[in-house]
């Protein structure tokens, strides 16, 4: 860890000269981690001291929250130079994080500096955030379908510096993608053979408006390290690469797990670090579950016997919660696998899960009714003695039916929340524990309402 300490010292106190000389000894990812914790003034000082190459490398690893004030202070000329040095995808990500006015300023500055990059970035910032279009780069080699293998080699050598080499994309005269060639295939092929004879004729592609996670999953499924991004007409726009996909997938899986558990502090090495993240959802869920308390308070009984069914509430709430969490997880997983991207897939899933909820709710309700009947039979009310058979049957049936209703309702809530998730994008608070609270409230409401109805019809226990 000596290197780490030296880096910290360099960034905290190093003179401009020392900074310029030594910064390249460290990986920008490490630099960024220390940089993040520095004071604003020091951060700005460092930005002034370093040149655009060094800054471009560093900026790739910094979040927009840190970059924004720095860019605001920097002169446009330097910003333009940094933007032109960064890879297109990182630059457009950075621009996206800025305010509209500042972004326009940066793009204006870039126009004078490098017309071509300006044009490319201006289109890229139009693509929605988290779409494949927003993270694509021009780091690829394309080749005409009539070309020969030796032309491909020439192209490779020419663009040796900036390119991801594992596959080349084959386009026709109109820049429409017609296939892909793996470099292994090129090595095996005869120099004179035509590209369209050696290519794989069916390039797997992703549309620019698809999400980055879709792109990542496609790459994972087909094990390809570089994926072409196309428009509706199959025209090649750029590529996304597996290293970006890795980051997106890791974030996505992390957020999925936090949807299940309501707090994201899981990657932390030490349990203590996660305390703040854990307390907030707990606070929110506890306050919410007070609603159940108020609901039950509504039926404060005249006689003790009338409240007997309330003692079955733990079973009802517990089973409703469990059914709900089952459908929640299954739906979430299905969405992730893009199984329901087609409406009919979603419909089939909804039908199946509803059928499941109805059947299992019926069985659970039956079990609860039998249990309730037996318990109430054994129980003697202090004032009135044992229950008669008719009352016993009707009240057990009512408890069973209420359980059935509660289970179905909660399961439906569990089915639809994950779909809402994907719509609300950052809806981390719509987590599984939240669903549990919701299921509790719904079930209590159903249960108490049926109890009410029961009592008001004039039946007694």
């Amino acid at each position: 860890m000596d290197g780490q300490r030296a880096l910290r010292e360099l960034l905290e106190q190093g003179s401009p000269k020392a900074l310029q000389n030594q910064i390249l000894d460290y990986h920008p990812a490490d630099v960024a981690e220390v940089f993040r914790k520095l004071s604003r003034e020091r951060q700005f000082q460092i930005v002034m001291d370093l040149n655009h190459h060094e800054l471009a490398a560093l900026f790739e690893y910094l979040d927009n929250a840190i970059l924004r004030p720095l860019i605001e202070e920097m002169d446009n000329d330097k910003t333009a130079r940094i933007l032109a040095t960064m890879t297109a995808d990182e630059a457009s990500q950075m621009l996206k994080g800025l305010h509209e006015r500042l972004r326009q300023d940066c793009l204006e500055g870039l126009k004078d500096y490098d017309e071509k990059v300006h044009q490319q970035l201006s289109t890229m910032v139009q693509y929605p955030l988290d779409s494949a279009g927003a993270i694509m780069k021009d780091d690829y080699i394309k080749i005409l379908d009539q070309a020969r293998v030796k032309d491909a080699w020439e192209a490779l050598e020419e663009k040796a510096q900036r390119t991801n080499h594992s596959r080349l994309f084959v386009v026709d005269d109109d820049d429409f993608i017609v296939g892909a060639v793996r470099i292994n295939r090129l090595l095996l092929a005869d120099e004179e053979s035509r590209i369209d004879d050696v290519m794989f004729p069916d390039a797997t592609t992703v549309h620019y408006a698809d999400t980055t996670v879709t792109a990542a999953r496609t790459m994972q499924k087909y094990s390809i390290p570089i994926l072409p991004v196309v428009n509706q007409n199959n025209r090649l726009l750029g590529v996304v690469t597996l290293d970006d996909a890795l980051r997106d997938l890791r974030e996505e899986t992390r957020s999925d797990y936090s949807r299940l558990t309501s707090f994201p502090g899981l990657v932390k090495r030490r349990a203590f670090d996660s305390v703040p993240a854990r307390w907030l959802p707990l606070l929110w869920h506890s306050v919410l579950s007070l609603l159940c308390v108020f609901l039950i308070m509504q039926v404060a009984p005249e006689n003790t016997a009338a409240m007997l069914p309330v003692f079955f509430l733990p079973i009802v709430l517990g089973m409703a919660g469990n059914t709900a969490s089952n459908s929640f997880t299954l739906t979430l997983r299905g969405i992730d696998k893009r199984f329901y991207s087609h409406p009919s897939g979603a419909r089939a899933h909804l039908l199946k899960e509803t059928a499941f909820a109805v059947t299992s709710g019926l069985l659970i309700g039956l079990a609860v009714a039998i249990f309730a009947g037996v318990v109430m039979r054994l129980y003697t009310v202090p004032e009135t003695g044992s229950l008669n058979v008719y009352d016993l049957l009707t009240s057990s049936a009512l408890i069973g039916a209420a359980t059935w209703g509660a289970v179905i309702l909660s399961a439906l809530a569990g089915l639809f929340i994950p779909f809402a998730h994907k719509k609300i994008r950052r809806g981390a608070w719509l987590s599984l524990p939240f669903l549990h609270v919701l299921a509790d409230i719904l079930s209590t409401a159903v249960y108490i309402a049926s109890l009410y109805a029961f009592l008001s019809w004039g039946w007694t226990l």
């Binding site: 490779l156 594992s166 869920h285 306050v287 308390v293 308070m297 517990g318 919660g321």
Partner: protein, 467 residues
């Protein structure tokens, strides 16, 4: 006519393949077309097929493609489907596919069957497989690819290209060449772009980068993936203690690790059957999930039964009953947090070193205790507030602050006990074979409900006997 039908289906490739197998009768067309599909699509199609259709597919695919298809299947499914072909052909497929995939399949077999296949695999392949299978499943060694190109530093660039030509068929990832000395110790790496840029006569020693990142084969795979993500690495060489290179971790491997581990976490947490079970029919789901529902219900029945048994004391104060869901839900949420933590810790194998489990458990318990105190304070406030909203709900001698204290104590204590259990169970009772339903969140919730009811009842009763 038939041709048009097939092209219309072409949006769904696996259905298209299935259609070809069912309807197309011309051998040569089947042979050329089927081998052009991506192994992933062929795999998806294979999963939809019946036995006879599968046999037809095996006939038309060449060995290399079929091996790739099997490599794409989940291990257990691959093991099952290997029975479709003869042992000799199966061994041949295992030999052709990437060694790490073959090892995964072999390891999922019964020992006896694995030996049978191993006996038919060529000697040098067999040794590679043996070496790979000796790594524990959470190490870099178990996930890395052992196919890579290693050259000596004195090799010239044009010789390197020749080596690339020779290996292009066998080795998947050829973007990076590894430069090793005679003892196989890693000296540097050469990327394909450096090679393309260099003059043909120069030697690799002058072209290579001698500063690079590497991992040990015994290192934790999740740390390695984190390193690749952090430093944007495309390949990460894995070396053994003698510093000789054993394999390479590629981005594709890393992505697979991320994807699989995420699935494993959610499966274990949600207590649902693993893998593609999402796609099963409703009745199958019912058969699979319902028995567990009844086990959970048993805990809840016990809780309700207890309430009935002691209701005379309990129901004097209606508010105690009204607060029951609140107490249960709050300790439930604490439980799920501890459970989630433990599941991830266990899966990431960060608790390997001796005493690490105990240390983590104590740490987690401290955090839980702190949180329980926090929740207790919150409950105190809320219960006090609610009992003041409706003072009539409190009967008898109970003051609202006493009531609030009982609720607070119950919430804190039941939360602590239940979540200690939830933190401990995955740590000490995890076997790879146990069904996730046993210690998943739903089951833990039911147990936690039971515990909470017991503690709640005890506290209420103790209090009412004191006063």
């Amino acid at each position: 006519m038939r041709k048009r039908k097939l092209t219309r289906l072409s949006r769904n490739k696996s259905a298209e393949i299935h259609g070809l197998i069912k309807h197309e009768r011309r051998d040569n067309i089947l042979r050329t077309r089927l081998n052009k599909y991506h192994p992933y699509d062929l795999k998806e199609a294979l999963l939809m097929m019946r036995h006879a259709e599968r046999a037809r597919l095996y006939d038309y695919l060449n060995e290399k493609t079929l091996a790739d298809v099997f490599a794409h299947l989940p291990e257990r499914k691959a093991r099952e489907l290997l029975n479709d072909v003869s042992v000799a052909y199966g061994a041949k497929l295992l030999e052709i596919m990437a060694p790490d995939d073959a090892v995964d399949i072999l390891q999922s077999m019964r020992h006896k069957d694995a030996i049978e296949y191993m006996a038919l695999i060529k000697h040098d392949h067999r040794n590679a497989l043996r070496r790979l299978s000796s790594y524990k499943h959470h190490t870099v060694g178990s996930e890395m690819t052992s196919d890579f190109i290693a050259l000596e530093p004195d090799t010239t660039v044009s010789e390197a290209f020749k080596a690339l030509h020779e290996n292009a068929e066998e080795v998947e990832a050829i973007d990076t060449l590894f430069i090793v000395d005679e003892a196989n110790r890693l000296e540097g790496i050469v990327e394909l772009k450096q090679l393309l840029d260099a003059s043909k006569g120069s030697v690799l020693r002058d072209v290579m980068t001698d500063v690079y990142r590497f991992v040990f084969t015994e290192a934790n795979i999740y740390d390695a993936v984190e390193m690749m993500d952090r430093y944007n690495l495309h390949v990460l060489p894995a070396i053994n203690k003698k510093q000789s290179i054993e394999g390479v971790l590629t981005l594709t491997d890393a992505i697979d690790v991320v994807e699989e581990s995420a699935l494993a976490d959610t499966d274990r947490y949600s207590g649902l059957p693993t893998g593609d079970a999402v796609f099963e029919s409703a009745s199958k789901h019912l058969k699979r999930r319902l028995p567990w529902f009844f086990v959970m219900m048993a805990w809840l029945f016990a809780a309700s039964g207890l309430l009935f048994l002691l209701d005379a004391h309990f129901s004097d104060v209606w508010l105690f009953v009204a607060f029951l869901p609140f107490v249960l839900a709050t300790s439930n949420h604490l439980t799920s947090q501890s459970l989630a933590q433990s599941i991830v810790k266990v899966r990431r194998h960060v608790l390997r070193p001796a005493g690490a489990k105990m240390r983590y458990f104590l740490e987690e318990t401290t955090v839980t205790a702190l949180t329980a105190v926090f929740l207790g304070a919150l409950a105190l406030l809320l219960a006090w507030g609610v009992s003041n909203v409706d003072p009539e709900a409190l009967t008898g001698s109970l003051s609202s602050i006493e009531f609030a204290m009982i609720i607070a104590a119950s919430v804190a204590l039941s939360g602590l006990v239940a979540s200690m259990l939830a933190a401990a169970l995955p740590l000490w009772f995890r076997r790879r074979k146990t069904t996730p339903a046993l210690f998943g969140a739903p089951m833990m919730h039911s147990i936690s409900d039971f515990i909470s009811v017991v503690i709640y009842v005890i506290i209420v009763l103790t209090f009412s006997t004191i006063t």
